[in-house]
């Protein structure tokens, strides 16, 4: 299991082995939505804000 630093609150965020690039994960401490930018090295960024045309 890899860990990375939350770009918002700087807590450690644990990623499971099945994590994927561009997956959205949540920081357990600040509840912020994060995007996994890369897996090797593990790099997190704040997930993009919801845009008007997002949906299903």
């Amino acid at each position: 299991m890899a860990t990375a630093t939350c770009p918002s609150c700087e807590s450690d965020v644990a990623l499971d082995a099945a994590s994927r690039q561009h997956e959205i994960v949540e920081c357990a401490d600040c509840r912020g939505e994060l995007e996994i930018l890369s897996l090797d090295p593990v790099l997190l960024a704040l997930a993009p804000e919801v845009e008007e045309d997002w949906g299903e």
Partner: protein, 299 residues
């Protein structure tokens, strides 16, 4: 595996070929992850195509894939990539036409109504002000919705003229002219829930109730999901809805009115199924991939 005589197997050659399948997605949410996991489990190779960084040369209309699964969260990005890939000969699931149709509530309503399917009464005006006047005759309460959008965002219930004037005045001030096209539905007094049915191809895979204390019963607004029996009436309505839209995999939202009548509210072209998966004893990602693989076999 290479044979003892040094001759390489068909599987070995296949593994070296570029994937035939593209998965169009920038944001890997629960549904996309489950779909990718299912593809991995079946050893179906794929390429994740991120629309945020994709570049398409229109003077070289070629794509290395034969089939693409459109799972992009942004409607306009999804539609644009689907259109360009189709132009390059790729079969996109769902098609650009289906994305365009379902992504516009006006087009959806017109299509369903033309097919004779039951939908809530609806009016459309080119300006918000015209809707205020028309609502006197149409009747309150009513619901105003953006033509494009999901998850119950920017949807407002208009209980009377005062509420209509306040909400529609705000819509008048929105910067995008598209947002000023005013789509109003009758408010359907549903029993604290709506129905989300999933239909892949011609098969209705399952349905759930989305239960909420709020009149907006979107799962994105924390509605709870419970199994919904697939009655012949519901199954036939959902199948007919999918047939009216065209071949594809859809999430069909159905309202029940106080008389128990079923009305098709919306059709979702990139259906989320996290909530449904919690309530149904069905591998929804697996069934989604079954449908996708069928399209790959045909192409």
């Amino acid at each position: 595996m290479t044979r003892d005589d040094g001759v390489r197997s068909a599987e070995e050659f296949a593994n070296e070929l570029p994937p035939r399948l593209a998965v169009i997605a920038s944001r890997i949410a629960v549904e996309e992850k489950r779909i990718l996991d299912e593809l991995d489990r079946r050893r179906v190779p794929y390429h994740v195509l991120d629309p945020r960084t994709a570049v398409f040369r229109l003077d070289r209309p070629k794509a290395p894939w034969s089939v693409a699964l459109a799972r992009e969260v942004s409607h306009h990005r999804n539609l644009t990539v689907a259109r360009v890939l189709e132009h390059a000969g790729v079969t996109v699931v769902n098609s650009a036409a289906a994305i365009a149709l379902c992504g516009d509530k006006l087009l959806t309503t017109l299509t369903l109504q033309a097919a004779g399917l039951p939908v809530p009464r609806c009016l459309v005006t080119a300006t918000p002000q015209a809707a205020v006047d028309a609502l006197e005759d149409f009747g309150y309460p009513a619901v105003v919705k953006p033509l494009t959008g999901s998850w119950g965002r920017q949807v407002a219930r208009l209980t009377d003229r005062d509420a209509a004037e306040a909400v529609l005045e705000l819509r008048e001030a929105l910067p995008d002219p598209h947002q000023r096209i005013t789509y109003v539905q009758e408010y359907v007094d549903k029993p604290g829930r709506d129905i989300r049915a999933l239909v892949f191809g011609t098969e209705v895979i399952g349905a759930v109730y989305r239960v909420s204390d709020s009149w907006r019963t979107n799962t994105a607004r924390d509605a709870r999901t419970l199994p919904c029996p697939l009655t012949p009436e519901l199954e036939s309505l959902v199948t007919a809805t999918a047939a009216a839209i065209g071949p594809g995999a859809y999430g069909v939202d159905v309202l029940e009115d106080r008389d128990g009548r079923l009305l098709v509210n919306e059709v979702n072209h990139t259906p989320q199924f996290r909530g449904a998966a919690e309530a149904l004893d069905v591998n929804l990602a697996g069934r989604y991939v079954d449908y996708l693989v069928q399209q790959m076999v045909r192409n």
